[in-house]
């Protein structure tokens, strides 16, 4: 049987080609796959579509990829006050942005994960978010049609992975990671610790192994601010 464990982060992202659509877990400094992001920076993949809640913290998190000019389009809910490399490239139109309400961003990824082709929501009705979207009235409520967000890869940060790919997350570092892990074609996980099969209680698994394709052990990196 093919092993999911990779020897290092560079090997885990070695096939990520120019133009890839990549989901990046993390929120508020917690749960970012920073080791995988650094490996992607070393690899130099370009024209990335990034799907992430925000757009980096100075040169930390996604900031590094914006700084390097590797991202050409981003789908995010909140670029963030310290996303200066994103802001620069957005100002010069080197990067385009689709701004999505945070819960709808989650739900659109989940729709992709769940094989759904779209859903109706009241969120965004009457706002800029509704521009260009189908609107209708269901049960006397105005709502808009939102479509799934697919990706080629998800870069995920877990606390523990077993050798089959079952995952747990630490505290609020869970955030977007389990949703993205389900939504992408290939899910690449950096885990603080790789544990033997059976070390995670079946009832306590957060991301079942079916969603995980590559695992690499890496110690967390955190960016201040």
């Amino acid at each position: 049987m093919k092993q999911k464990i990779f020897p290092n982060v560079d090997a885990a992202v070695a096939d990520v080609l120019d133009g890839a659509r990549i989901m990046f877990g993390g929120f508020g400094g917690a749960g970012f796959p920073n080791n995988l992001i650094q490996a992607l920076a070393r690899k130099g993949t370009k024209k990335i579509t990034a799907i992430s809640n925000n757009c980096g913290t100075r040169d930390g998190e996604l900031g590094l990829l914006f700084k390097n000019g590797q991202i050409s389009h981003v789908i995010a809910s909140f670029p963030g006050p310290h996303a200066n490399y994103f802001q620069e490239r957005f100002a010069t139109k080197e990067v385009t942005l689709e701004l999505v309400p945070q819960g709808i961003l989650c739900e659109r990824m989940r729709a992709a994960a769940a094989g759904l082709l779209g859903f109706y929501t009241t969120v965004g009705v009457g706002t800029e978010v509704a521009t260009g979207k189908e609107e209708r009235v269901i049960d006397s409520q105005r709502c808009i049609l939102e479509s799934p967000i697919q990706a080629d890869y998800a870069f995920i940060k877990a606390e523990r992975a077993d050798e089959l790919g079952n995952l747990t997350y630490r505290l609020a570092a869970r955030n977007f990671n389990p949703i993205m892990a389900m939504a992408a074609k290939i899910t690449i996980v950096e885990a603080e610790e790789i544990v033997p099969v059976g070390a995670i209680e079946p009832e306590n698994v957060v991301t079942p192994a079916i969603f995980v394709h590559r695992i690499v052990q890496a110690k967390g990196i955190r960016y201040a601010g």
């Binding site: 049987m1 094989g115 079952n166 389900m182």
Partner: protein, 213 residues
Amino acid sequence: MPDKPRLTREQIAACAARELPDGAYVNLGWGIPNLIADYLPTGLTVFFHSENGILGMGRRARPGEEDYDLVDAMKVPVTLAPGASFFHQADAHLMTRGGHLDVAVLGGFQVSEKGDLANWKVPGARGPGGIGGAMDIAAGAKVLIVCMEHTTKDGAPKIVKHCTYPLTALACVDTIVTDLAVIDVRADGLVLREIAPGWTKKEIQELTGAPLL
């Protein structure tokens, strides 16, 4: 209809088991598919999914070992393989519909030459029938194998031009494993890939309601 031995249900299951790739995530439906777990080729590792929220289902529980909170989708007490996990039924079907299962194996009443499947209701049967997880599984699995007898008890073909039984899903079946043959459903038609010992292509064609390539 030639009165020659056909494969048993267990042999059909063993035949279908050889279709599973190593490391695959697999869902097994009611009937013959449920026997497959007992006929895995040596050295093959597969992970069984159950739509009631289990990944990594192990063998059936032995007498005295039953835990009725640990049952498969057929309500049979099972065990866990190492590395199993539990999740709720919506996540279980996110897996089925979302294309996360490498292979699903279902039973069938009829399969059409386009790969349409009918497997949940017999016309004229008492009561409303029951769908269960079949429609979600059929719609979403990367590869769908159907295991069934090649003909009905009356000798009528179960592989047909067009299904006459209530449908489960359109154009969903990839491979049909019967007591006479293994047949792949391709865009250009049904391809007869394997024939049961002692049978000829001509005999199988006569028992099949659509042309075999």
